[in-house]
Amino acid sequence: MDIFTKRPKLRWFVPVVFASAALAIPLASGAIFADDDTPALPKKTAQELLTDMRDSEVDGFSGTLVKNADLGLPSLGGDADFAALSGGTHTLRVWSAGSDKTRVALLGELGESDWIHNGKDAWFWSSEDNSVIHEKLDASEQPAPPNASHTPDQAADEVLGLLGPNTDVATDGTTRVASRDAYELVVKPRTDTSLIGEVRIAIDAEKSVPLSVQMFTKTGTKPAFEVGFTHIDFQKPGDEHFRFTPPPGAKVSEGYDNAGDKAWEDMINEGTFVGENWEAVWVGNGANLDEEAQRMIRALPAANGEWGRGHILESKLFSVLITDDGQIYVGAVTPERLYEAANSK
């Protein structure tokens, strides 16, 4: 006679044990890539890490990465739209096999946008619009995906481009990202006007490539922006991942043909920088912005000073000042620094 027959109420132990066992299994919510592990790795200085990173050579890789942006701005667009990458949480799959073979897929719920660069062709596919944009490239041309700094690698490059005399660079132990051992490099601007408190870069212990980049503000304990792999495979992905033929029925257009985007692009290219590194402020002429943009600007809080009158947009990681005479100032700095830049104009 077994115990469950003798003491029937003990049967309740079975579901309780199952429930506790189930709850003990840790589940990643998809938005988390690092765990609390601190693997034991041979010590390395910050300088050694930077050198290793510069000299690292990887033929190719594929993986899944997660991007979280918490800039304190409203999210724009749907979740499978590259424009939406400015806010919220997004999952991307990337395949890379050398400098002329890249595929980035932005995953939405029941939707996907893909950007494929294969030799002399660049394709942009949107499942939602059922549309394809094709661009013919010159052999030397290196096209940029629709939204900058997609991978930890690119984000790290941008951060390391800011290293200068007013920067502290240090190692901060080890971590695990995408189930791989990694060193952690901490980059800290030494200036009062920067909004960035510190940037943490996790560098793969074996391959010396960045696995995640997290930007913290001076006050926040959670990163305002982070991008990191949840899974990475350093095997060179096969050619089938970069082959693309527009599916029948899709709207295919040759080259980007968007006057609005072109106007933005021209404006960005004509701008100049004031200041250096962490204190850099981009200055451009926004007199030609369309009516919709103007309306958005007028809805922002007003500001004034020696430089005149205008409107200010403050987020956790960057500030934007638009003066009434059409000048735009943008930087990862406090509004005061923008006013200073406007004064010196």
């Binding site: 579901p15 499978a80 996907e112 499942s127 033929t245 029925g249």
Partner: protein
């Protein structure tokens, strides 16, 4: 000792299961529910045909390229509410329905252990879950192929696969959805042992599903999300990426299995020990 063939031993179980399924299919309420679910793909197919849509999310935009997507569009439309309602009705009827009609105590006089009776009920509910999911897909497939082209299937990633592989992936979607619905059915079966009112159990299951869906939308509770049974439901679309993205599907299957094991065992613990008075 006389030799008894294993088939004969299991025969009463099979007979029970057959009568159980006949009971589920025979219920006028279930027939109506199934009819509503099966009309859904037909409505979707004719709407797309009439409006000549070639864009839009949730697989709607893909229908004009391949009729198979009617099945997927119907499944994704039915998953948030229609399918859970159907599953909650059938699962919470399993024990509570008998208790409500006063037939439970007669059923228990049959020389079959309560555990086995519950197992038969659970299997019948599981077959219904799979049946309703595959039926929606099948009707979608048939109406889709009548009204729209058959041929290569364009994935969410923009690449194409053969029609055969497309069907295989559709079967994968149905199997995954069935597993997700079984988690809900297990909860329904447990509630069914607690109450004598099948409708009460069914409403409780639907409320639970709705509350989970709401909690899943609150970003501040993101630590809780992966444990909610609804959290991974919509990732069935990952079957239609190139290549299939297994990460979320695997986790969704794991979470569903967790709910099934916990609630079926809880139903067993309660049903085999409670006093039956009706």
């Amino acid at each position: 000792m006389s030799a008894v063939s294993p088939l004969a031993l299991r025969a009463p179980g099979f007979r029970l299961l057959r009568s159980e399924l006949r009971l589920i299919v025979g219920r006028r309420r279930n027939q109506l529910g199934l009819a509503v679910l099966l009309i859904l793909p037909i409505i979707i197919a004719f709407t797309v045909k009439a409006t000549d849509t070639s864009e839009g999310g949730d697989f709607i935009g893909s229908i004009s390229g391949n009729g198979m997507f009617v099945a997927l569009a119907a499944l994704s439309a039915a998953l948030p509410l229609f399918l859970p309602v159907a599953v909650s009705a059938v699962s919470s009827d399993a024990i509570a329905g008998e208790a409500h009609q006063g037939t439970l105590r007669y059923l228990l006089t049959v020389p079959v252990s309560r555990a086995r009776l519950l197992a038969v009920k659970a299997i019948a509910v599981a077959i219904s879950c799979a049946g309703v999911t595959f039926a929606v897909a099948l009707v979608g497939l048939v109406i889709g192929w009548i009204l729209f082209p058959i041929g290569d299937v364009t994935l969410l990633s923009g690449t194409q696969i053969s029609q055969g592989e497309g069907i295989a992936r559709l079967v994968g979607v149905c199997a995954y959805m069935t597993l997700c619905l079984l988690a809900l059915a297990a909860i329904g079966l447990f509630f069914s042992t607690l109450t004598e009112q099948p409708l009460g159990g069914s409403i409780a299951v639907i409320i639970l599903a709705i509350v989970s869906a709401i909690l899943n939308e609150i970003p501040q509770l993101d630590w809780l999300h992966p444990y909610l049974f609804v959290h991974h439901w919509m990732v069935f679309g990952d079957f239609f990426r190139a290549p299939v993205l297994w990460d979320n599907l695997r986790e969704g299957a794991l979470v569903s299995l967790g709910y099934i094991v916990v609630f079926v065992s809880a139903a067993w613990a309660h049903f085999t020990t409670k006093d039956i008075t009706s």
